[in-house]
Amino acid sequence: MAIPFSYSFRNLWTRRLTTVLTASGMALVVFVFASILMLSEGLRKTLVDTGSPDNVVVIRKGSASEVQSGIERIQAAIVETEPEVAFGVRGRRLLAKELLVLINLPKRGTNKTSQVVIRGIQPESLLLRPQVKLVQGRMPKAGSSEIMAGASIARRFRGGGVGENLRFGMRDWTVVGIFDAGNSAFSSEIWGDADQLMQAFRRPVYSSVIFKLADSSAFEAVKKRLEGDPRLTLEARRETKYYADQSEMMAKFLRILGMSLTVIFSLGAIIGAMITMYSAVANRTSEIGTLRALGFQRGSILAAFLMESLLLGLVGGCIGLFFASFLQLFTISTLNFQTFSELAFSFTLTFEIFYKSLLFSLIMGFVGGVLPAFRAARKNIVEALRVT
């Protein structure tokens, strides 16, 4: 007993200009909504993809990240002897004692400097991170002043390409290779021999110890032992959790900023939709009277106008998403507040963001249309028919 869908659709089509203008308002909001979600998803994905659930990151107790952490050589050696640490090739433990230093490097094009993470690695570092792949050149030789740069560094920083030199730690370092670590944060790092870097930076301690668990379920046991050992002042986290924690603050900031923007914008769009729908109801008063006279119930009128407003929202949602999807072509580089280092990531559109954005646009359509639809449904037939 419903008024046909084509009635709602064609009424929108008939007043195309108003429809497009109103839908544009909603599209703008959906665009902002989707882009914030895409940004925080891109950030989360970048940082979470960086970790592997079988890996454990050990840092000094109380330090939020590797940057603030320091681990004495003796403590690192104790961690190495834990029975839960997996064995790799030739009986060596799958464990790397790493150094993390932040330096300033000038960007290509501009002379503006930005902070970059230098990671001192050991041979096992690469085995622990299978997602890191050499894409150009070769691996740096141990014991030399050779380094390799993440793809994102090579692209954006001066001196980051193969064969180029970078000066830091009072030495010149030659870039001999470029590695790609996909979307992960490693792509924004420079890797070199840990012992060489410790000397250059006059650092007597490691920043972190990373190891792979022989059995993933043994994590709680090893965590408890490490954190309870009176000789150690360390804490252990799964690598995935470690990176997720790092993205938390930034993601939260983006979420709060995005949601407050979206809420304010959406109020405007909802009021716009409401005005459009109220004027649609006013212009079609005699039509409403006619439909009621023919025998359509109040509910059918309500549904037809609500449908029209939902369609309006959907059109806005589709336009907004269409434009937001192009954001995926952009890469954002920003300072990660927690590591104070440069981090490159891109807007990521997931199915969840897709349907959330559409749902949001439908909600705007609904909220904007519900009062006008009730007004339409409540009209008195005789009075409505008198309007010509």
Binding site: P4, L291, G295, F296, R298, V382, T388
Partner: protein, 231 residues
């Protein structure tokens, strides 16, 4: 005029008044009359005499203060709103002065509208709509939108919409009020044919003496009171 047929509409002691602020304005006062089945009745009278109100009451889109309206055995004054809407969809065909077609729907879809409230299948609906449009002579204009039709053609689509459900009564409020002489003549001929050939009971409000001539019976309403039948 055929008085031997049983009345299809029985109106008893019908009163209706409007409230304007604290003032109560009586529109219809104690009206009683019958309309036999197959009648073509014209209601005439000066503006404000209550003829449209009477028509609205008969059509079940307005409610009376007191009195009874029995149409084909159904007391419509006691029906609840949803039942009344359902009753209208089955038993009343509307013809309006300004046609009241839905501008975004084609002639076919406009005529199909009342059938959407029935249980007919898509094919059955199509067959009914095509028949109705053929009766009004617009079978070739099915896919035209109202704006693409002349006033007379629009009114014919509206008549097709009114008869497509084969209602018990047809109510027409100034059906020729917005038409030129020629188109008005066509519409009146069509209504006359529907009355003579299909036996439709038609109740028409009009100011137009030529329209009233087509009717079998003319009744005059003045100051809320119905004067005796005058042929």
């Amino acid at each position: 005029m055929n008085q031997t047929k049983p009345p299809i509409v029985r109106i008893r002691n019908l009163s209706k008044s409007y409230r304007r602020g604290s003032q109560i304005i009586p529109v219809l006062e104690d009206i009683t009359f019958d309309i036999p089945d197959g009648e073509f009745l014209a209601l005439m009278g000066p503006s404000g005499s209550g003829k449209s109100t009477l028509l609205n009451l008969l059509a079940g889109i307005d409610s009376a203060d007191t009195g009874s309206i029995l149409i084909n055995g159904v007391e419509i004054t006691t029906l609840a709103e949803t039942e009344l809407a359902r009753w209208r969809s089955l038993h009343v065909g509307f013809i309006f002065q300004f046609y009241n077609l839905i501008p975004v729907l084609t002639a076919f879809e406009n005529v199909e509208l009342p059938l959407l409230l029935t249980r007919l299948s898509r094919q059955e609906r199509r067959a009914h709509v095509e028949t109705a449009l053929r009766v009004v002579g617009l079978a070739d204009r099915m896919d035209h939108y109202p704006a693409q039709l002349s006033g007379g053609q629009q009114q014919r689509v509206a008549i097709a919409r009114a008869v497509v459900t084969d209602p018990t009564i047809l109510v027409a409020d100034e059906p020729t009020g917005d038409l030129d002489r020629y188109s008005a003549g066509e519409i009146l001929d069509l209504m006359d044919r529907l009355n003579r050939e299909s036996g439709k009971t038609i109740i028409m409000v009009t100011h137009d003496p030529r329209a009233a001539e087509k009717a079998h019976v003319i009744r005059y309403l003045e100051k809320g009171e119905l004067s005796d039948a005058s042929q």
